[in-house]
């Protein structure tokens, strides 16, 4: 059975071709064959019966038992090279050839090489540094000894062993000093050549060879002693100005001299200008080194959700964000930073009391309000901004607040009346009034703060972190399971009523359970970013990243779209995105993980894209799955292409009605019927009710599916996920700046 076979070019480590071979892989053997072509003078061109011309010259070169060769993927993966390390310590490199479906074959080879590897390279810790999987055995020839035994028989003793033989490592691959190098040098006196001072003085660095010709031209044209730098803008442009308008110079020791001085005749001037432009253009090309663009790797505000997220933005901006394809800047409404300007009770709470909300609820929706009774999931957020409160508590808070307002108003009124009566004692009254007010406000704040303290204290007690845990303490499977359990609990708490709240109010502020789901997702993504940024070396950071990618992949495999997205958002957050060197390391050393990451990023970019929908549909065929919150909420966005159509329908129907009523053919033109018609039309125009029904159906279906997750959680992992301290996005970004310095260091030209 041949697992896979392909043409390969045997190359050196540097990629220079040696010969053309054909490799085949079976479960036990690695087969190497090649075309051995006779010279053309000895060649026969006529048909030889029974021999396929395709394989006429094709000859078997070698069959290696798989135990004797360690097959792996060469770490420079772009080259698609297999590295075969034989037990005789010979290393061959094979670059995949062929034209048709080369990438497919490459993936197949990688897969088969993985297949030969018995241990699952699932966790990133077990992954080797080159992020490859290797075939199973490595019987290395460690030592050979030749001897003659008593009987006079010549014997060859071979010593085989596992692991790398203690072969000397060469730093210079072109220098081989014999296999006896490891012996200590006894009578060896090193020849020393002390450096001269001239070696330390380096010529100023030459520009890239591509420019050299132009530079030469410039040099010939312009007398060196007169001009050091050609600067069309005086000294007003930064040295690494991106527009490319700044001309690089050979050496700027002579300083800038205005160009007009040096030029005598006009012909030189035009030629100089032409050369300068050429030089400028070529230097621009040089600066554009082929950087790896990772546009897919950034997700700045993943929980904005087209204005449906917890942010408050103005109605118009929200509409334009939802309708437009290209999103412009929006202003989010925030609470003022100063604590004294903040309201003691939130505006939302003031505006909508519980009773009022209950009045507007549908009968059908109201029933399911109380259907689910599971304990609230508490988790830590900075300053405990996520503080779930029961409706009764909120109502009590509100009534107390209103009572206080009423009291203070009455007191104020009464005082004012008294002020009018006692004009003489104005001064002292005022003082008294002042003190009164002070104490009043003091009591008020103290009372509110006391109540806040209690709830915060309660949370603080609940979310006390007993042991210091990091994500290194758990493997990705444990984390994935626990994350799935938490997300399942949070997801099952979402009620259809909240969807209706969102669809009418267009914000998830008033939907507590969706808010909790969102807040937890935000927490996880921030936690992910914090964990990545915790370590100082890029190696460890890269390892962390690859482990988190692993966790995300496992979530995805469990059809847990929500957790997967949360982790990905953390990895795509600006703070982690900007670690270019770390990502470069991941790409190079953990490249299988990086490929997975890239693939998932593209998949999760927008759940409305067909790729995501296809995967989701596939995964939702079998029972346990959790859809991502984005998917759920974006289903609530009004579909505008349908909207216009419906609008046109509505318009035509209303004109017809108006026409009929004008002709007095429509008998029942009483106001109420007209009202109902109007409201029906309004609903029809929005299509909101249909959307709501659809998404409620979707929600119920997926909740039923999510209930089927049965897995045993890890208590410590749960504790870690719920209680571990993390930094918010902004702090993470600032920390990231200190972890990996920015490349863009602007210097002033002197």
């Amino acid at each position: 059975m041949v697992l896979v076979e392909s043409p390969f070019a045997q190359t050196t480590r540097d990629g220079k071709g040696i010969r053309q071979v054909h490799l085949g892989l079976t479960p036990t053997k690695l087969i190497l064959a090649a075309d051995v072509l006779p010279p053309v003078s000895m060649l026969d061109v006529t048909y030889l019966p029974g021999v396929d011309p395709d394989i006429e010259t094709f000859e078997l070169v070698a069959v290696y038992p798989i135990e004797c060769v360690n097959l792996s993927v060469f770490h420079r993966r772009k080259r698609q090279t297999l590295k075969a390390h034989f037990c005789t310590d010979r290393i061959l490199y094979f670059e995949l050839g062929g034209l048709v479906k080369r990438n497919m074959f490459w993936n197949l080879w990688c897969e088969r090489v993985t297949f030969l590897n018995p241990e699952d390279p699932g966790s990133s810790r077990s992954e080797t540094s080159v992020a490859t999987s290797t075939s199973n055995s490595t019987l290395y020839l460690l030592d050979t000894k030749r001897g003659v035994n008593e009987a006079g028989l010549h014997q060859l003793w071979c010593k085989f062993g596992y692991g790398n033989p203690v072969a000397p490592k060469w730093t210079d691959r072109y220098l081989y000093m014999g296999d006896q190098l490891s012996e200590p040098p006894t009578n060896y006196t090193p020849h020393t050549d002390p450096p001269t001072t001239s070696e330390f003085i380096r010529e100023p660095s030459q520009p890239k060879s591509r420019n050299r010709r132009n530079v030469e031209a410039l040099k010939q044209l312009v007398p060196r002693h007169q001009i050091g730098a050609i600067n069309r803008f005086g000294s007003g442009i930064l040295d690494n100005c991106k527009s490319g308008l700044y001309l690089k110079t050979e050496s700027s020791t002579e300083g800038t001299v205005s160009t007009t001085q040096s030029l005598d005749n006009e012909t030189d001037y035009t030629r100089l200008a032409e050369n300068a432009v050429l030089f400028w253009e070529s230097s621009r090309n040089v600066t554009q080194v082929n950087r790896h663009r990772r546009r897919y790797g950034i997700a700045p505000q993943p929980h904005f959700l087209y204005g449906l997220g917890p942010w408050g933005i103005s109605q118009g901006e929200r509409f334009s964000v939802q309708v437009k394809r290209a999103v412009s800047a929006v202003r989010t409404r925030r609470q003022p930073a100063e604590p004294e300007l903040r309201l003691s009770i939130s505006k939302r709470q003031l505006v909508s009391s519980i009773s009022c909300e209950a009045l507007h609820l549908d009968g059908r929706v109201a029933k399911s309000w109380t259907s689910l009774k599971t304990p609230v999931v508490f988790f830590w957020t900075p300053d405990y901004w996520y503080r779930p409160r029961s409706a009764r508590d909120a109502y009590q808070e509100l009534t107390e607040h209103l009572r206080k307002v009423r009291q203070s108003c009455q007191r104020k009124k009464g005082r004012r009346r008294r002020n009018l009566g006692f004009k003489k004692g104005f001064l002292c009254m005022e003082r008294r009034y002042d003190t009164d007010e002070d104490t009043n406000s003091a009591t008020q704040t103290s009372s509110t703060s006391a109540r806040d303290e209690t709830s915060v204290q309660y949370l603080r007690r609940l979310l006390q972190l007993n042991i210091n845990l990091t994500s290194w303490d758990f493997d990705s499977t444990t984390l994935t399971c626990q994350l799935t359990i938490i997300d399942r609990d949070l997801f099952l708490k979402i009620t259809p009523a909240e969807l209706s709240v969102i669809i009418w109010k267009q914000t998830s502020k008033s939907a507590p359970n969706i808010g909790a789901f969102e807040a937890f997702s935000h927490r996880i993504s921030c936690l992910v970013a914090t964990e990545v940024l915790r370590d100082d070396t890029e190696k460890i950071r890269a390892r962390m990243i690859s482990r988190l990618i692993n966790a995300a992949e496992k979530c995805h495999k469990l059809s847990n779209f929500q957790s997967c997205r949360s982790i990905l958002c953390g990895l795509q957050s600006p703070a982690v995105y900007r670690l270019h060197r770390t990502w470069g390391y991941v790409r190079k050393r953990h490249s299988t993980k990086y490929q997975v990451f890239e693939c998932m990023c593209r998949l999760y970019r927008d759940p409305r894209l067909s790729a995501y929908q296809r995967v989701f549909l596939q995964k939702s065929q079998s029972a346990p799955y959790i859809p991502s919150l984005t998917d759920l909420l974006l289903k609530l966005l009004p579909c505008h292409s349908n909207g216009t159509q419906n609008q046109a329908e509505w318009r035509s129907s209303s004109t017809l009605k108006r026409l009929l009523s004008a002709l007095r053919m429509l008998k029942m033109t009483s106001t109420e019927t007209f009202e109902t018609v109007q409201s029906d039309c309004l609903e029809l125009r929005d299509g909101r009710r249909a959307l709501l029904n659809q998404s409620v159906e979707f929600l119920e279906k997926s909740q039923r599916a999510a209930q089927k997750y049965t897995m045993t959680g890890n208590e410590l992992a749960g504790e870690y996920l719920l209680k571990a301290r993390y930094r918010e996005e902004r702090e993470n970004f600032l920390h990231s700046l200190s972890v990996e310095k920015s490349n863009f260091v602007y210097r002033r030209t002197s």
Binding site: P7, F8, A9, T11, D14, G15, K16, G17, I18, R19, Q20, D35, L37, P38, P39, V40, S41, M42, L43, D44, V45, T46, Y47, L48, P49, P53, D54, E56, Q80, E95, L96, G97, G98, L99, R102
Partner: protein
Amino acid sequence: MEYDYLIKFLALGDSGVGKTSFLYQYTDGVFNARFISTVGIDFREKRLVHQYKGRNHRINLQLWDTAGQERFRSLTTAFYRDAMGFLLLFDLTNEKSFLEIRNWIEQLRMHAYCETPDIVLCGNKADLEDRRVIKEWRAKEFADKLGISYYETSAATGQNVAIVIDALLEKVMIRMESAVDKAVLPGRRGRSRDLNEPEEYSPVASSSCSC
């Protein structure tokens, strides 16, 4: 399945001139604008019936597609001596690939079965008329000087692709015809040959290659 002749052609030229596309267009009639550089050597086949001197010959054509990249140079030169005809391609929109032709011919002379092998020069990418750098007369003059035929081809549109192969086939057939008696290349199968006679090769080869 049966055939009369097995003939091997080799495509040469700088990286990116369109060797693979050219052969792909010829064998499959398909063009793919994406650039996938060839690694090592790629073998492809086509069977055809060629009319030569009023007789039909069934021919199995083996087309060897080589990598143009410098790093595979030593790998591909090993195949030169086994090919009977050479397709030498350059890119009409790329001056450097045209200038490199001289080097390619030198390489061929060094490694091929004789000093003057059968070569057809192709200026590829003729469909990109607006980006053309090499004028037709210039390439033609150059080809005349070397005594090889020149065609302007396009792998994208299929212009002249089959004609070039036919022309090369014609040349190789003529050479084979003349070589049959003189016991030089490319000979027929089953013919007795004295392998121990090294002198046989070069003098006759030079005389036969004067065509």
